[in-house]
Symmetry: C2
Subunit: 434 residues, 2 copies
């Protein structure tokens, strides 16, 4: 009985074109992280289920892949990289020392309802700065977001910055402190469902009209010129309570340092971003590509004060962000900032008479820094040239009897059709690597 | 209730030192693959269980992590990268075109009995050449093994080469063709359990003493000088049957091309290697590090003719090999060919008075190609220098009031204790990157 070859619904294969684009992207991203001293760590895909069950929204809990293993343990596939990080930090605290900076690239699993562009297994790329409350660590997260996107070739993006404390302070001021999380989750949807629907939902949780007005007019204030002058215009709110004051002052401190560090148009105070996740407690971030506003945030994060609360009574503060790799890849491809190429080599070498000489020639070219694929058979040129075309090779090196006898090489430009003969190895290299 | 932070038995975290060493190793390996035109692909960690259940030894089947998912499907975590490749090739055959070369790096899962050095989740690194029977593809697999290990800094290793056809031909000649797989699995253990135990096991499957003698004396023949002259000495066996002849001739063809391609002492015909896995049908490989013989093979593989047999009636031949990443990492660490460093940056910058100036200075140094970690707080030097020591930084850049006023930098060599003052940014760079 033959089996139909297929992937599970919501799971995805990547063919070479896309996998190679993703590989190049990941190399660039991890390279940027390392420039700032973030080191990689690795944790398993499988964890004790209880470690993953204690946190995360109800929805995520429903989507958890969990089962009983060979040793009768309840185990689960991780659904993010943050809970494993919390477990990791708690487990190796003494060994690691603080502050601790790490990045982690890995796949996570959520049994979501299958829908276009959403997968049940996807790659996350997190970087976090644990064990310090210094504004320096917040500064660095913003700087890493900026540099990562720059290094990927992106020119036009905005890092939106807000502070949960401002929102908490506002709710406190309005006497609706106990509803803060509920209000936050509603507000978080404003871009998706619009102001009218938000008003309706806020009314449904018994919020009075004047308070709704106050809240919505506040979060819809827009930064017109610089971040610092926008914050200046919000001075009056500092007098409402200590939480609001702290939130605004932290943003001021952050923006004072960012001022000489990043271009002014690369970041912006945005009072409407809320980050639905319960665990944020301070400054928060989202990042949008200005040319692709509908793509959503490609890098989000913020400060959390209770990372290790399930494992330890000791509070541990940290700040971090996560790159949505698949979304960012889609964006880079749409903006033509990363190519979808089938071939990872610079040229295809076609042996017309001797495999042996061809492999030697390829070896010598690789030594000169040219990546070479050798067509593995001495066959009819029609077949090997078809292969070159299918793979989109611009350059084909031809090695026949004549070339071998004269110790020269022929090179064909598959785009222009032009053919060069009697080349030396160095001339081949120069043409290809031009 | 607090949860004890721990990993599942047989699963492993990697702290920065080890994770960074592995990251550097993987970058080198995938870079070598790409030099030869192998492109990456990606398949999910989870597959329909039936796709993974049809192949693999009974042992592996017992170790399979499988469960029922949210959609009532029986799913399983992959236990190798070969079965997903077979599924992948069958599914996208027309899109991919043949021959098809791919590499794949990924984690696989086996619920083995926990034992030292064996993990239930580990990383494989496969490269395969599908859809051609040309000896050229076998040549290239050997060449890639060689180049991958060279690029990792290894100098002294041996690629052991054999051909399943020789073994099959021998069994045919001895009239024990039906027991070939059984005999093979016993022979495969010779290095582990020794000749006496092997003889006992072969006797237990009713093999006569003279046949055992013949078999053992054949597989224990040793290559003394070159591979080609060793093969020359085996000429007489060609007359026994067509399978033996084919097996020996394929090796001759392979070694003729390898002769001018690789140093003679880097590969060797080894008639005793068997590769227990059922699916090999042609030339097979194992690779040992000469300085660490007890480590076992770090890269093994071979040719298989029936890769896609569960999915299609069409036969598809391929050849490939797999790097045991964890084992190879252990070897590289033992030979000091890869460093276990805590810090991924070149220097730590310690701000003694202004965070703002420190981040600006770090930014300028990164532009010059120096990776800089900034200590995130203006704090007592004792604390930040302790941090520099713990992380093993050789270089610390100090930025205090004086330095900022004079627009200079101080640099401390943590190993010698020497301190340099009044440096320009470029002088700092030159000292660090020396």
């Amino acid at each position: 009985m033959l089996i139909t070859p297929k992937t599970l619904s919501g799971f995805k294969d990547r063919l070479p074109k896309e996998a190679y684009a993703k590989t190049k992207m990941l190399r660039s991203i991890t390279n940027t992280f390392e420039k700032f001293g973030f080191a990689p760590i690795e944790t398993p895909h499988l964890e004790y289920a209880e470690i993953l069950k204690k946190q995360g929204s109800d929805e995520i809990q429903k989507e958890l892949y969990h089962f009983i293993d060979h040793g009768n343990r309840e185990v689960a596939l991780r659904f993010d990289l943050t809970l494993p990080l919390a477990r990791f930090i708690s487990q190796y605290k003494n060994e690691l020392g603080l502050p601790f900076k790490r990045y982690c690239v890995g796949n996570v699993f959520r049994g979501e309802r299958a829908q276009k562009g959403r997968y049940r297994e996807f790659t996350q790329c997190d970087f976090d700065f644990i064990g310090t409350t210094s504004i320096g660590s917040d500064v660095e997260i913003v700087e890493v977001i900026y540099q990562t996107l720059k290094d990927l070739g992106l020119k036009d993006f905005t890092i939106h910055i807000n502070n949960r404390k401002i929102f908490n302070g506002l709710c406190e001021y309005l006497g609706i402190k106990d509803s803060t999380i509920e209000v936050l989750r509603i507000i978080d949807k404003i871009d998706k469902i619009g102001e009218i629907a938000i008003r309706e939902e806020l009314k449904n949780i018994s919020l009075k009209a004047d308070k709704i007005d106050f809240l919505l007019s506040f979060i819809q204030k827009k930064q017109e010129s610089s971040a610092l002058s926008f914050l200046e215009s919000l001075q009056e709110y500092k007098s409402h309570n200590a939480t609001l004051k702290e939130g605004l002052e932290e943003l001021e401190e952050l923006c004072k340092i960012l001022k000489n560090l990043l271009p002014q148009n690369s970041y912006k105070i945005n009072l409407s971003i809320a980050r639905g996740l319960g665990y944020y407690t301070g400054i928060i971030y989202e990042t949008t590509l200005n040319d692709l506003p509908s793509l959503g945030s490609v890098c989000s994060g913020g400060r959390y004060d209770n990372l290790t609360q399930n494992f330890s009574k000791e509070a541990m503060s940290g700040v971090g962000a996560s790159i949505g790799l698949d979304r960012l890849l889609a964006g880079l491809l749409e903006l033509n900032l990363i190519s979808m190429q089938e071939n990872v080599a610079n040229a295809l070498l076609i042996p017309l008479s001797s495999l042996q000489t061809s492999y030697e020639c390829a070896k010598n070219l690789r030594k000169l820094g040219v990546n070479i694929e050798v067509y593995p058979e001495v066959t009819k040129p029609k077949k090997s040239f078809q292969y070159a075309n299918k793979k989109g090779y611009k350059w084909v090196i031809i090695l026949g009897e004549d070339e071998i006898q004269n110790n020269t090489y022929s090179l064909k430009d598959m785009e222009s059709g032009e053919q060069y003969t009697n080349l030396s190895l160095n001339e081949v290299k120069e043409k290809i690597m031009l």
